[in-house]
């Protein structure tokens, strides 16, 4: 029964949260305390966080800045960004040796001027496949053709496709059809009835809740998921279970 108030009925991990300021735009959330308060307001237990500076400026510097956002209570789980330079890969591999990497996020391939093709990314994608780390990929930053054809060559690599928009409607199904190790994150995906339709076609185990806060508010997609045909087991998978498996937690 819809109500004027809302809180989730399953544990929730937000799989897509950005912290820190972009070079062009200060964030409305300036501290770890503010971020945890926002998560508490929406009853979100944990969040996968990456630093804004990794999006268009520097994955390696952004990763260093991410350290200051991590909390002792482990509600905030770091996601380290990477572009296929020797320095960036060395940074991620060092963190991995320390046991601190659960997932990796791909730096914007278009602003980097390096198309997402094997000739540019093979070293990175081969290593991620070898060590079993999942790769988060913002869809707005990668050409769909490159995404599909490149990832098909790395069948063991698990990926989370981020930020599908209604302008991606016609490519979402080909991506999920051709990439059986890909999950779809739902922060921007609003075509009518698509959560239920994708669940029927691919299963709730291919869908993941993320908000892309603070680009978007944390609550609306979470509210949406709680008002679909997902049963409680499926809702639990989408809101936390699927990402828990990917992160190995």
């Amino acid at each position: 029964m819809p109500s004027l108030s809302f809180s989730p009925r399953v544990p929730v991990i937000d799989a897509n949260v950005c912290v820190g300021n972009h070079h062009t735009e200060p964030s409305p959330c300036q501290s770890q305390v503010q971020l945890l308060d926002e998560m508490d307001h929406h009853s979100i237990n944990r969040a996968v966080i990456y630093h804004a500076q990794t999006e268009e400026i520097s994955p390696t510097d952004g990763n260093r800045l991410l350290e200051s956002w991590l909390d002792e209570g482990e509600r905030l789980m770091p996601q380290w960004s990477v572009t296929p330079t020797a320095d960036a890969l060395a940074q991620i591999q060092a963190l991995h040796r320390e046991g601190r990497v659960q997932s990796v996020r791909l730096h914007n391939t278009q602003s980097a001027g390096l198309p997402f093709r094997a000739w540019g990314y093979d070293t990175l994608l081969s290593w991620l496949s070898e060590v079993g780390l999942p790769l988060w990929i913002p869809l707005m930053d990668v050409e769909p053709h490159d995404l599909i054809t490149t990832l098909q060559a790395y069948p063991d690599l698990k990926t989370v496709l981020l930020g599908a928009h209604y302008t991606h409607t016609l490519v979402v199904r080909p991506m999920l059809d051709t990439l059986p190790n890909a999950w779809l994150e739902l922060s921007r995906y609003e075509p009518i009835g698509e959560v239920e339709s994708l669940k029927r076609q691919y299963g709730a185990d291919r869908l993941i809740y993320g908000s892309w806060y603070p680009r978007y508010a944390m609550g609306p997609i979470l509210y949406y998921l709680h008002h679909t045909d997902l049963n409680d087991d499926e809702l639990q998978m989408v809101c936390a279970g699927n990402v828990e498996k990917l992160l190995g937690i």
Binding site: L4, S5, R188, E190, G193, I221, Y224
Partner: protein
């Protein structure tokens, strides 16, 4: 109905736009509306500049569920000889209670002369007009500051509340200056705090819930209102109270 409040979605479409997943299947729309307690959706068809084709398609659509859908009239100044006869037909014969205008499909900003016959018509009849608004030249909310004092019997509604931060500020400024300007909430921009800003700066009695159904699923869009940090009283006005007042339904 949500906690005794009749919920009216002020912004929706008739028609299909497959590349974006827009599908006006009434069963799909009603399923989404029912899941979150939306009683009535206001719909318009904007793809035919003659107006007549669009309005007949809207009338045919709402006739299947007249208790759940309300039609708004559409005309375009690109076919000026058709505007007023079609408006008379849509309002008097089809019984549409309001007008939708879409400046992006014309060469003219909506404060320019080709649009004014529509405003004169609406002013004589005390009608509500909802506009697409954003930051582009044809669609700037600042034009309401020209129109609102000139046509005091018209209620001007800024669809999407301008969408971008700078255009949203223009929309709020117009609302603060003139009692016959209103803000509508649908947008793929689900920025944190935007609903709170509209209510605090524009006033809860001037904000209308809209979803853009079926271009977008109405569930995340109503989730913006439900999960916002505003009072229950404000939520009731935004979700339906204000729309009832404007439309007299």
């Amino acid at each position: 109905m949500i906690d005794g409040t009749r919920v009216i979605d002020f912004h929706g479409h008739v028609g299909r736009w497959e590349q974006y997943g827009m599908n006006d299947d009434p069963a799909r729309m009603l399923h989404a509306m029912d899941a979150v307690g939306i009683d009535v959706s206001c719909l318009f068809h904007i793809f035919h500049p003659d107006g007549t084709t669009s309005n007949d398609l809207t009338a045919k659509f709402i006739a299947r569920h007249p208790d759940r859908f309300v039609g708004f009239a559409y005309v375009s100044p690109t076919m000026p000889e058709r505007m007023l006869p079609e408006l008379e037909r849509a309002i008097d014969k089809l019984r549409f209670p309001a007008i939708k205008l879409y400046p992006p499909y014309t060469p003219w900003p909506f404060n320019q002369a080709p649009w004014h016959p529509i405003y004169e018509f609406a002013n004589k009849r005390g009608l509500t007009i909802i506009f697409h608004t954003d930051h582009l030249e044809n669609n700037r909310p600042r034009y309401f500051e020209d129109l609102a004092p000139m046509y005091p019997n018209v209620n001007f509604v800024a669809g999407h509340s301008g969408n971008s931060p700078e255009a949203r500020a223009e929309a709020i400024a117009a609302v603060q200056k003139y009692p016959n300007v209103f803000l509508e909430t649908c947008s793929t921009f689900r920025t944190p705090g935007v609903i709170e800003q509209l209510v605090e700066e524009g006033g809860a009695d001037r904000v209308l819930f809209g979803s853009d159904v079926p271009l977008m699923d109405p569930r995340p869009q109503i989730g913006k209102i439900i999960t916002a940090r505003i009072s229950d009283e404000a939520k009731r006005l935004v979700l339906g109270g204000n729309a009832e007042r404007l439309l007299g339904i």
